[in-house]
């Protein structure tokens, strides 16, 4: 990272920091950078910014760095950080809140993870439930990994663990309307 002027960064990033703080319910000044989150994080080994560093980026209002980070996509939402944080900060919630913002602004550095989530929700919207077979086939086609996990297919079919045809729930369109209503209302839950 090149050198930067922290006062300028903070004045430019304050709006973003306040927005993420409000949507996640986390006050970034609560964090005193002890690093317990990173110590326990099972995905820290693969992250560009460790969980503690993500908190530091937010404290400093370094918006671009946070939005473009891979970490917010790699977080597995296992909540180890939150369970261990001495200040009871829900850092997994911060990760997902920044990620939702990043996606809306078109930052998607982890394209396959993003694609998988989109296809998962598309399946839920269409059938009311996830149809694992078509989800995996679609994911392989669209992510260009045609033969990923193909070896598991025959055994899964033989053991009755996967179904060729999707099962659609008889909900009179209730789940489709949930998706529509949420789109119309905007995603903020509070």
């Amino acid at each position: 990272m090149e050198s930067l002027n922290l006062s300028t960064a903070l004045s430019q990033g304050r709006g973003f920091r306040d927005k993420i703080s409000s949507l996640s319910g986390v006050n970034f000044t609560d964090c005193y950078q002890c690093g317990k989150c990173t110590a326990g994080c099972p995905v820290a080994f693969a992250m560009d910014y460790t969980p503690r560093q993500i908190m530091r980026l937010m404290q400093l209002g370094l918006k671009e760095e946070a939005l473009k980070s891979h970490s917010i996509w790699l977080c597995a939402s296992c909540e180890t950080c939150y369970a261990r944080c001495p200040k009871e900060i829900d850092l997994a919630k911060v990760m997902e809140t920044i990620r939702i913002e990043a996606k809306e602004m078109g930052y998607r550095p982890e394209k396959t993870i993003d694609l998988f989530n989109d296809l998962f929700l598309a399946s839920v919207e269409k059938y009311g439930r996830v149809h694992e077979m078509s989800l995996i086939v679609n994911f392989n086609l669209k992510s260009g990994q045609l033969f990923k996990d193909v070896g598991m297919g025959p055994q899964m079919l033989q053991k009755g663990k996967i179904h060729l045809l999707a099962e659609k729930i008889q909900d009179n369109g209730a789940v489709k309307r949930i998706f529509e209503n949420v789109r119309n209302m905007g995603g903020d839950a509070e």
Binding site: L23, P42, V43, F45, A46, L74, A76, S77, C78, E79, T80, A83, E88, A92, E96, T97, R99, I100, T112, I113, L115, F116, N117, D118, F120, L121, V124, G128, R129, V130, E132, M133, I136, F139, K148, D149, M152, Q155, M156, G160, K161, I162, H163, E167, I169, Q170, D171, A174, V175, R177, I178, F179, N181, V182, M185, G186, G187, D188, A189, E190
Partner: protein
């Protein structure tokens, strides 16, 4: 004792044996499970990583159907449990959230019913003595590592179940059906969930470290309460062995399967023959599928 039952998508497909064994064991213990009619997907991680309101609304529709019947909800899948419980808590504790969720689902949900993990039901609503009474084939000498993973116990403010660092409920349950509970360090580590599919260079090492720790602590099998953990630990085990050029051969069980075996159900009826890592050599090698009086003397 009656609960609304939310199986979730995996229990109709990759986790079918969890569904079958959970229903059989519940019935055996006198727990009536009323499956929520036309239940929908909880949205899983995909929803809460995409939209906060959607992540609450999808589970809330199921909870509202149960609430109208005045029933608490029992959830076998750890991941679904976490999403349903999060939604119930959010609706119960915030009027503003409740109004938004109800508008999204076009139903009236108050968050008044409890959401419980099936493991919680089987270890708190059902006493240790009640379980022990039903055991006809104790699984003596089976070294089982109870694996809780993330979402049964974290975040504790939501799950309100057991200890987030060193939970004991499943260990005690496994002791009650005769197994030797293995003490190990990875019982609440994360298996990486969907990363094994969407980002396998990150997901597979996470699974490997769990298998390795169980093995090094002397486990002969791992016990889980989550279909995604099962998928990762069981169905991906061969792939991980191949990549890392090592051999684990660790059968993975749902806790309900082992309860069923101890209660006298056949291995086939409990669905353990559907696993990718074949558990039959282990069960037969220890002669656990026979009544204790007819077991071989030396095993």
């Amino acid at each position: 004792m009656k609960f609304a039952y939310y199986p979730g998508c995996s229990l109709n497909a990759t986790g079918i044996e969890y569904n079958v064994s959970a229903k059989a064991v519940a019935k055996h213990l006198g727990i009536e499970l009323w499956e929520i009619p036309e239940w929908n997907c909880c949205g899983a991680s995909a929803a809460h990583n995409t939209d906060h309101l959607l992540a609450l609304a999808l589970p809330a529709r199921n909870l509202a159907i149960a609430e109208a019947k005045k029933l608490d909800v029992a959830v076998p899948c750890a991941a679904c449990f976490n999403r349903l419980k999060s939604a119930q808590q959010a609706v119960k504790h915030s009027v503003a959230t409740k109004e938004k969720v109800n508008k999204a689902i076009e139903m009236d949900y108050q968050g008044s019913n409890e959401v419980k993990a099936l493991l919680d039901v089987m270890t708190s609503a059902i006493s240790s003595d009640m379980v022990k009474e039903k055991v006809v084939r104790p699984l003596n000498g089976l070294k089982a590592a109870s694996y809780y993973g993330c979402l049964l116990v974290r975040p504790p403010a939501v799950t309100q179940f057991d200890d987030p660092e060193d939970p004991q409920s499943m260990d005690q349950l496994m002791k009650n059906i005769g197994t030797d509970a293995v003490d190990w360090s990875f019982k609440v580590e994360c298996c990486g969930a969907g990363h094994s599919t969407a980002k396998s260079d990150v997901g597979l090492p996470m699974i490997d470290s769990i298998l390795a720790d169980a093995k090094v602590n002397g486990a002969e099998c791992i016990v889980t309460a989550c279909p995604l953990c099962m998928l990762n630990l069981d169905m991906r085990q061969k792939e991980i062995e191949k990549i890392n050029n090592k051999s684990y051969n660790l059968p993975i069980f749902y806790f309900t399967e082992l309860m069923g075996l101890a209660f006298g159900y056949s291995a086939k009826d409990m669905g353990v023959t559907k696993h990718f890592v074949n558990p039959m050599p282990l069960l037969e090698g220890k002669d656990l599928l026979k009544h204790p009086a007819t077991r071989r003397d030396e095993v």
